[in-house]
């Protein structure tokens, strides 16, 4: 494979990683701070995409749609927290998994009832609709560069919030010893609600950004959720830094696996079985690596402090 194409694929991998990070960040925050397994994170991503697509079509502007979708996603997250999730914090993980899985089924059907089951259109902003030539005949869409920038900005913002602010300090303290923080006079319930709402908003943000590239349809978050879980498990649950690096790792592995493995297999097999075996292996690669990492470091690459 020519070196130019390899570089292009590396860039594609980084970009997929950044998108994964946007989804995984909220998940790892909620999981790390509240020890709460939220399978419904994927449908919150879907809700964000639907809200973004609807509001963008309604206002006629992607940017207005984005700005309005964020508080709407936050609101949805808070409603869910108050109505369902709040009652699950004290329960064991099995109850949480069951209840949040129920939320997935409920919201997927609700979205289908409200918007119909056909995929929704969502135009990308006019100013970002161009592309820069990457290699002969292939453009790299400007919009994807914007996603990379948004992902990096989100990572920085999260790092700043968690590591450098008073709120972040409380969140970290709550993560390592919630009863103690509560005893010191902090309303831990409100803190959890805030963290959860913020996580929901992050998922919604990722959903809006993904809208113009991916199909906005019921169940769109389900596949992504699995990858997001792989990311936070590899990165170390609760660790923002871990999630960031693991997301990049997963994005690179997946993309390079998909482009290189079929070629590699051709060294051992006939072309036709090599392509199919390569494709099958590539889709397993991420999970194989996750298993290997967990075998060597059960807490993930960058376990959160105190966890």
């Amino acid at each position: 494979m020519p070196i130019g194409l390899l570089l292009v694929q590396a860039l594609n991998g980084l970009q997929l990683g950044i998108l994964l990070f946007l989804v995984a960040a909220g998940l790892t925050l909620v999981f790390g701070v509240m020890h709460f397994i939220n399978l419904a994170h994927g449908v919150q991503y879907m809700l964000g995409a639907y809200l973004g697509a609807t509001l963008a079509a309604w206002t006629g502007s992607f940017w207005l749609g984005l700005v309005l979708a964020l508080p709407a996603a936050l609101l949805c997250g808070l409603v869910l927290e108050v109505a369902v999730f709040r009652h699950l914090y004290g329960r064991d993980h099995l109850s949480q998994v069951l209840a949040t899985f129920g939320v997935i089924l409920f919201l997927n059907e609700a979205v289908r009832t409200l918007w119909g089951s056909a995929p929704l259109p969502m135009a990308m902003p006019e100013s970002l609709s161009g592309g820069i030539p990457l290699m002969p005949g292939l453009l790299y869409p400007t919009y994807r560069l914007a996603i990379i920038a948004a992902g990096l900005a989100t990572a920085l913002l999260l790092w700043f919030l968690v590591e450098r602010t008073r709120l972040g300090m409380l969140v970290r303290a709550g993560a390592s010893n919630a009863p103690m923080v509560s005893a010191l006079g902090v309303d831990i319930g409100r803190l959890f609600t805030a963290v959860f709402g913020f996580g929901a908003m992050l998922a919604g943000f990722a959903g809006v950004l993904a809208g113009p590239i991916f199909s906005v349809e019921p169940g769109m978050g389900d596949n992504l959720l699995i990858l997001a879980f792989v990311v936070i498990v590899i990165g170390g649950i609760g660790s923002i830094r871990g999630a960031f690096l693991a997301a990049l790792l997963v994005g690179l592995l997946d993309t390079l696996g998909r482009s290189l493995l079929p070629e590699l297999m051709r060294l051992f097999l006939a072309p036709s079985p090599a392509r199919q075996a390569g494709a099958a292996l590539a889709s397993m690669l991420v999970y194989v690596v996750m298993a290997a990492i967990l075998a060597l470091r059960p807490a993930g690459l960058f376990p959160a402090r105190g966890a």
Binding site: L16, P119, P121, S215, T255, P262
Partner: protein, 382 residues
Amino acid sequence: MGAAAALLPARRARAQQAGIKVGLVAIQTGPQAALGTQLRDGFLLGLRHLDGKLGGLPAETVMIDDELKPDVAVTKVRAAIERDKVDVVAGVIFSNILQAIMRPVTESQTFLISTNAGPSTFAGRGCNPFFFTTSYNNDQVHSVMGQAAQDAGYRRVFVMVPNYQAGRDAAAGFRSRFKGEVVDEVYVPLTQLDFSAELAKFAAAKPDALFTFMPGGLGVNLVRQYRQAGLANIPFLSTFTVDESTLPAQGEAALGFYTAAPWAPNMDNPANTRFVRDFEAAFGYVPGSYAAQSYDAAMLLDSAVRRVGGKLSDKAALREALRKADFHSVRGNFRFGVNHYPVQDFWLCKVAKRPDGKFQTETVRKVLADDVDPYAAECRMR
């Protein structure tokens, strides 16, 4: 005498009440529900055009949501046959559902009319006297695109399909008529979201055209990303990737992309003009092939029931009447082959924007005329 005369109208009334019940298998849950909705609306419009009657008998539709789960489909279809006493089962979007309900339906001597799924399993040795389809044999559609690529003189084509049975069948179907070089064959998982790695590979290979089969949301992702990557100057040849069920989401991005089909909304014949106009007026969206084939199924049933004079119990006569296919198909040219699969024309179609701003596929040229599916010769119909 007077008493007998008084009884007569009552008996006639009872005879009229004995109408025809159709079990319509249309998926209504899950990501693929949009296809089931098209299928259902097409059939219902057919009934509406026939004043709610099939061959003069008042028709009743029993809706069956298969949920894309073969076991669920079998349970519900069995209930429809045994409890609701349906006379005919119609519909079915997916081949795996059709395969599951085939035996329970046909073994109870109930006619099964597929309006979309057309696996080759039931076209050759597995052909069945109680089974008809108003769609096509799946393999035909892919091979039509192979022929179209061949006719257009493309020499190097890049093939990209999902890594499962239907995807591999699509690639094989395309290659059956395309004699040029397949530069690369890329298989992607069914859960694929981002195609940038594949598209980079595609651009590096510098092919004359792309052939792809990416149903549903996969196709929405691919079409958008193909356009965004500036690749749209390379012909996009596809099957089941750009159609009226996905075009509302693909919109401008799909403009000028190709697909293969036996029918398109712009076909110019009186039956089709009426179908498309009334469909859009009734349901507010552009009909796709799923709707058109189901509409045809309603018309087919109507013609057959009329021919046997409403006597549904005479299965042999009803079968003969169905074989005649004595109705005006929205496709124009339509008849059944020995295996009860249609013998019909196939077209190269292209995505176009209509003056009212909606998108639809439109015929470009006829690729195959009166095409008999490749398995028909193996069928020994009893």
